[in-house]
Structure formats: structure tokens, C-alpha cells
């Protein structure tokens, strides 16, 4: 009884800590993903028009642009608005320099979610170029290229580390349960000597493994919940979370407990 209890406590602790780690990592991933999504959402295409373009033409253009696949919103920047932007950027009123506003009117275009990559933006830019009265198209080519490239690296790295943590958690749980079973080696061998079938010997361990996995996951979930609460209250109120995370943890705990105890018992029984 005492022996079994200690081993259980240790297994549950390990499971919950490992799953907590996975949970923390999940939150990190979620927030990074959202942050990168926001970065991309900020991306805009500026379509500079012929300064002499008529209002009529502008309305027509807007319609054409809106029909292009992947366009989320189109905003018109008149010559006046452009002048304001000039003031902001160069610290000088353009009307101080020249009487007539020389700045061209433009459209600012935002794209739909799937279209915010360099490839797609280039394609859309090509289509825009073909429209009448369009003078020049500007978007953050380089930034987009960089984001495209680095984000892949970041995602790859993140997923790699995530998998590694999951693997580490698995090894830890597997080892803990293995040691738990090892600590009950004598019990197993005695059970078999008094006529227990493999199934009979195996079952409690697997059930226990699953229970430990679930309990560990529950503890991890509770810790994670308070961690999230703490961070939201004191550090960063915009932390992104999802209830699915907890479901995933519980599922993972159950799965890890079951698989690792199955493997452990299976492997062990041959040696007793």
C-alpha cells in the first residue's frame, strides 16, 4: 500500500509537470501564431493613381479592385489625406512648399487571410497593375519576403521543439511507470506464481497508468489555468488561450498513460 502510493505520487507528479510544460508551450505557440497573424493583417498594398483621375473613374476602379480574388477591403486615400500623411512623415506642410497639392490619390488595400504571402501579393499586384489609371503599386516587398521566410523557420522550430517536449514527456512518463512497475516486480512475480493470467497482471497497471495520466493532466490543467490567470492579471491581459488546450492535455495525459503503461508492462512481463 505504502509502496504503491509513493510510486503513484511520483508518476502523477511527473505526468502533470510534463503536461504542464506542453500546455505552456501550447500557449506560447498560440500567442506567437496570433502575433504573426496580426503582423500579416497589417500588411497593405498601396495603389497610386494618376493625379488627374476623375471621381467617376475612381468608383469604377474600386469596383474592379473589389472583384479581385483575395481582396478584403479597399480604402480610398484622397489627395488631401495624402497631404496629411506627408506632414506626418516629413514634418513639414506640403502647402508651405507648393501651392497645388502634388501628391497622387491612392487606394489602400487589405487582403484576406490566406492571401497575405509574398507570392499571392505579387500576383494580385500584377492584376492591379493592369487596371486603368493605376500609376504605381507599392507594398512592403522586402518585409513580406522576410516574414515569409523567417516565419517558416519559426514555425518549424516551434513545432520541432513542441514535438521534442512531447517526446520528452513521453519518455519521462514511460520511465516513471516503468520504475513504478519495477518497484512492484515482486508483486507481479508472486501474482503469476499463484496463477494470475497475463491479462490479470496487466490490467491494473494499464488502468492505473491511464488514471495517473488523467490525474496528472487534471493537475497540469489546474496549474495552467492559474498560470494563465496570473499572467492575464499581472503581466499581459491580451494573452490568447483556448479551452481546447485543456481538452488536449487531458487527452494527451490519458493517451500517454495508457501507451506508456502498456509498453512498460508488456516489456516488463517478459522479464519477470
Amino acid at each position: 500500500m505504502k509502496r504503491a502510493r509513493l510510486a503513484t505520487v511520483i508518476a502523477v507528479t511527473s505526468v502533470s509537470l510534463a503536461l504542464l510544460l506542453i500546455g505552456l508551450f501550447g500557449i506560447f505557440y498560440l500567442n506567437m501564431d496570433r502575433w504573426i497573424g496580426r503582423l500579416r493583417a497589417k500588411m497593405e498594398i498601396e495603389v497610386f493613381l494618376d493625379p488627374t483621375v476623375k471621381q467617376e473613374k475612381i468608383d469604377q476602379l474600386r469596383k474592379s479592385i473589389q472583384q479581385i480574388e483575395g481582396i478584403e477591403s479597399v480604402q480610398f486615400i484622397s489627395k488631401e489625406k495624402a497631404a496629411k500623411r506627408f506632414k506626418q512623415e516629413f514634418g513639414q506642410d506640403i502647402f508651405d512648399i507648393i501651392e497645388n497639392n502634388p501628391l497622387p490619390p491612392s487606394f489602400v488595400i487589405h487582403l484576406k487571410k490566406g492571401y497575405r504571402t509574398y507570392m499571392r501579393v505579387s500576383a494580385i499586384s500584377g492584376q492591379l497593375q493592369k487596371l486603368d489609371a493605376v500609376d504605381e503599386i507599392v507594398f512592403q516587398k522586402q518585409l513580406l519576403q522576410i516574414v515569409d521566410r523567417y516565419i517558416q523557420i519559426v514555425y518549424l522550430g516551434t513545432i520541432l521543439i513542441g514535438l521534442m517536449i512531447t517526446f520528452i514527456a513521453f519518455v519521462l512518463i514511460y520511465n516513471t511507470i516503468r520504475l513504478t512497475i519495477y518497484a512492484r516486480k515482486d508483486i507481479i512475480s508472486i501474482m503469476r506464481l499463484v496463477g494470475a493470467t497475463e491479462r490479470f497482471v496487466r490490467r491494473p497497471f494499464v488502468v492505473e497508468g491511464m488514471a495517473q495520466g488523467l490525474i496528472g493532466a487534471a493537475i497540469a490543467s489546474i496549474l495552467l489555468f492559474y498560470f494563465i490567470k496570473f499572467v492575464k492579471t499581472f503581466i499581459y491581459p491580451y494573452l490568447a488561450t483556448t479551452p481546447y488546450l485543456f481538452l488536449i492535455l487531458l487527452g494527451l495525459g490519458w493517451l500517454l498513460g495508457m501507451i506508456s503503461s502498456r509498453l512498460s508492462v508488456g516489456k516488463h512481463l517478459q522479464n519477470v
Partner: protein, 215 residues
Amino acid sequence: MIEFYNVNVQIDGKYILREVSLRILKGEFVYLIGPSGAGKSTILRLIYFDLFPQAGTVIVDKYSSAKIRRKDIPYIRRKIGVVFQDFKLLTDRTVYENVALALRVTGVKSSEIKRRVMRILTEMGLSQKRNHYPQELSGGEQQRVAIARAVINEPFIVLADEPTGNLDPRTSLEILETLERINKKGTAVLMATHNYDLIRKFKHRTIKINRGMIV
């Protein structure tokens, strides 16, 4: 019912048993004697298929050491009650649970288990100790728990390895009377022992073994 045909057991090239042939009939009571290290426990291990011979055949009930499948072993063991020389009690379970284990593995109902365990513990003078753990018992008490576990299943044979080694003469006598009683009900008994007083008092066929050979 139990038959050994020219059984050889070798470990690391050394013969533990050599050309052992013997036969124990249904309901028989047989002593197994011989000096320390002669091979008595080894013979018992062969019977409950904890060990397999390098040569020769061991036949128990309808199973043969040459043909028995791994998954059949639990079922034959349930029909054999073993009192191990070192008791082999679970240190993390109470006396009650240790004895009940032999029934639990066979899937007997809890109420039935309770009834039978309580009866055998009372018979062994252990009912007061039923909630104790083995390490809280004296050597002789542990031995009696081991005997209780061996006989509770009403096996067709009880293998008793030195079942009185830790007992005073009076308790030894009681244990032997218990075994005799079980034997009377039709259960065979094979008892490895060094206690010649008992052998003299309760006369039965005696198999003598020395250095791995029947003499």
C-alpha cells in the same frame, strides 16, 4: 498424476537435477527429504512450471513440460497450492489480501472470497492478524499465511517447501495435522522437509534426494 521421466536440470553447465524419475499419485502424501542444496525446491519449481527441464519430461495433470503453452501455465498453477520456502508474501498487502489473492486471480466473487478467507484464517489461528502486514508478523505467523494461501484454492496438490522451518514443535504438529486433513479430503501433498520428528510421527512415502539424484 505427477510424473517425472529422466528429468535433467542444468544451470550454467552444472547439474542441479540428474535423471530424476518419480511419480506421485492422486491424493498421495509424500515427503521429499535430502540435505541442503540437494534439489528439493528445484523439483517443486518444475511441478508448478516455474522451471523447465533441459532433458526429460515433467507431467502434471494433463500438461507436459514439453508441450505446455505459456498461456496455460496460470490455469495449472491455480490447481496447485504452493507454500514457498521464503513465503513470497506481498509486503504491501494485509494478511487477508495476501490469502485472498489466490482466489482473486481466479475471478471468484468478493463475498465468496470473504467467507473462504475468513474460514481458513481462523483455522490457521490468524484471524486476529488479518489486517496486519507481513512484516508485522513473526516468522511462524508468516509461514502460516503462506500455507493458508496455498490451500484456500482447494488445489489437487499442495507443494509445501519446508512448511515448518520457522515453527515451534507444537505449531508444526498443528500444521501437519492441517495438511493431513486436507490430504484426507483427497488433495495430494508433496512436502520438502528437514523435520525427521514429523516424518517419524506421520508416516508417509518418502522420496530421498541427494546432489540432484533420487537415492
